[in-house]
């Protein structure tokens, strides 16, 4: 069995009368790209918040590299649909924000930020304020900020959810490139089934009331993935099965 980077053991969370996350056990392989797809209220974001340490679970345990991290923070990279760039900092200073919040930003931190920005197409904008950037560029900066935290595990919560279709496709390909280069483990929440298959090695399908994982698909589509991938029979077949789980079962 390949090494698990992240493990959830019977993790659960209840808000009042609502079971946001029923006891869930999961194992995420090091270096993998796992997509989580499901409708509103299926507990995707709750699961993320528990893993990140923002929420204490009502039961169960979170382990990272076989160490318990339940309820602790500072061990994951985290990115939301909102880019959360601070308007008063330049692109370069936004990328180094995590370091500024936890210690001193050194010259080598800034050099790294510049290197990453140049490598992924934002070298021209290092001294720009975020207000000067487009939505897609802002999300790239947000992702670079997540990247330079040097966390192995990146939690991406619908990062491209607010982008137009064209930009979104570009960003997906960009993300796959960066993921390949930097060898991180990605947990990626989306409600876009195409996106979940296009990006991942594995798709977890979640369902609400109570929030839980109802299916776990291994995605063996060849990499690198291109626009053609979206019309391959294997892609379409998998999409059909996931769509059936999400919509067929509910009616």
């Amino acid at each position: 069995m390949s090494p698990a980077l992240l493990e959830l053991r019977d993790v659960s969370k209840v808000f009042g009368d609502t079971v946001a996350l029923a006891p869930t056990t999961l194992s995420i392989e090091d270096g993998s790209f796992v997509a989580i797809v499901g409708p509103s209220g299926c507990g995707k974001s709750t699961m993320f918040n528990v893993i990140a340490g923002l929420l204490a679970p009502d039961g169960g345990e979170v382990r990272l590299r076989d160490q318990p991290v339940t309820g602790a923070t500072g061990h994951v990279g985290y990115m939301l649909q909102k880019d959360l760039l601070v308007p008063w900092r330049t692109v370069e200073d936004n990328i180094t924000m995590a370091k500024r919040l936890t210690g001193r930003v050194t010259g080598s931190d800034r050099a790294e930020a510049r290197r990453v920005a140049r490598a992924y197409g934002l070298g021209e904008f290092l001294r720009h304020y975020p207000s000067a950037l487009s939505g897609g560029m802002r999300q790239r900066v947000a992702f670079m900020r997540t990247l330079v935290t040097h966390q192995s595990l990146l939690l991406l919560d619908e990062p491209f959810g607010a982008l137009d279709a064209q930009t979104r496709l570009e960003m997906q390909q960009w993300l796959l490139q960066v993921w390949k280069d930097t060898e991180r483990t990605v947990l990626f929440i989306t409600h876009d089934v195409d996106e979940s298959i296009f990006l991942s090695d594995r798709v977890l399908v979640m369902s609400p009331r109570p929030g839980r994982v109802v299916a776990d698909f291994t995605n063996t589509l060849a990499r690198p993935r291109t626009v053609e991938t979206l019309t391959e029979p294997a892609f379409v077949e998998m999409k059909g099965r996931i769509m059936h789980l999400l919509h067929g079962g509910a009616s």
Binding site: T73, L80, W88, L163
Partner: protein
């Protein structure tokens, strides 16, 4: 999923800022137009006095009021300095007090509920009614004037800072938590800069009222010489031109102080109107290192 979270995402500004605007155009818009409105104001004044044949002892022409100032400049200048000193000291103390109170109240909700009514009460008291007892307590010095200015200035600052701190994006604060940031760093790096805009709104309101506070103090403490007393003397001598001239001077002090605060805001919040950051010493150092 929640589209509500998308706040402003991907949308540009309604009016895109050009990176390079002709400097002459910028000066014309930011300095020329406000100056024009001042000139227009004087023209309206002149027009009313001339058209309605207003007697000079009721209202002088602008020229007479300005001459009343320039011809007595050597007498007036020390008085102007005195008013400026009261205004500036009071403003700085009021701003510091207002900022501290806003921060403390935002951080300790119990204290907020306890102190807020007192603060509102402090502003409901007519400031003129307060001036006389303050002079009795603090004596005929610069102190009561400074206290009155600070009294007026702190309130809009506190209210705006409190408002700003309670509207910092919760997701941003959560992100800082995910990074494992200590609370004081989150406060310094996120909450304080996020409050810059409301803080300056409060400071600008305070700046416009600060001179009024100083003049009220000067009136109440009728000691020695002050701009307010100079005006009172001019009034009792039916020297209307000097009365108007002194009013213009007081107004000019208020406007200048307001403009200084605006200047400080422009300097302290470059991201509000620039697309690219100013060159910083740190940037230069990094370039040398590279």
């Amino acid at each position: 999923m929640s589209v509500a979270g998308a706040g402003g995402f991907g949308l540009g500004r309604s009016r895109p800022r050009r990176a390079t605007e002709r400097v002459s155009r910028k000066v014309a818009r930011n300095v020329g137009v406000p100056l024009l409105s001042m000139v227009l104001l004087l023209a309206v004044w002149q027009g009313i006095v001339v058209v309605f044949h207003v007697a000079p002892y009721i209202a002088p022409r602008p020229r007479a009021a300005i001459l009343a100032v320039t011809q007595n400049w050597s007498t007036l200048w020390p008085l102007v300095l005195g008013t400026i000193r009261e205004t500036v000291y009071g403003f700085i103390i009021g701003a510091a007090l207002g900022l501290s109170l806003g921060v403390i109240m935002a951080k300790v909700p119990v204290l907020q509920r306890l102190v807020y009514p007192v603060l509102v009460l402090s502003q409901a008291v007519p400031i003129i009614a307060l001036a006389a007892p303050l002079v009795l307590i603090l004596g005929f010095s610069v102190t009561p004037k400074v206290v009155i200015v600070a009294w007026i200035v702190f309130f809009p600052v506190t209210v705006n800072v409190l408002d700003g701190l309670s509207h910092v994006d919760q997701d941003l604060l959560n992100l800082a938590r995910v990074y494992g940031a200590p609370r004081w760093r989150t406060f310094l790096q996120i909450e304080i800069p996020a409050t810059a805009t409301p803080l300056f709104s409060g400071l600008k309101i305070g700046a416009t009222y600060a001179v009024t506070g100083a003049i009220i103090g000067e009136l109440a403490a009728s000691d020695g010489s002050s701009l307010a007393l100079y005006q009172e003397h001019a009034n009792s001598n039916l020297n209307t031109a000097a009365v108007y001239g002194t009013t213009m001077l007081m107004t000019a002090i208020g406007i200048s102080w307001f403009l200084l605060v605006v200047g400080a805001e422009v300097y302290a919040t470059p991201w509000q109107r620039r697309t690219v950051a100013r060159r910083s010493w740190r940037r230069v150092r990094d370039e040398i290192d590279a």
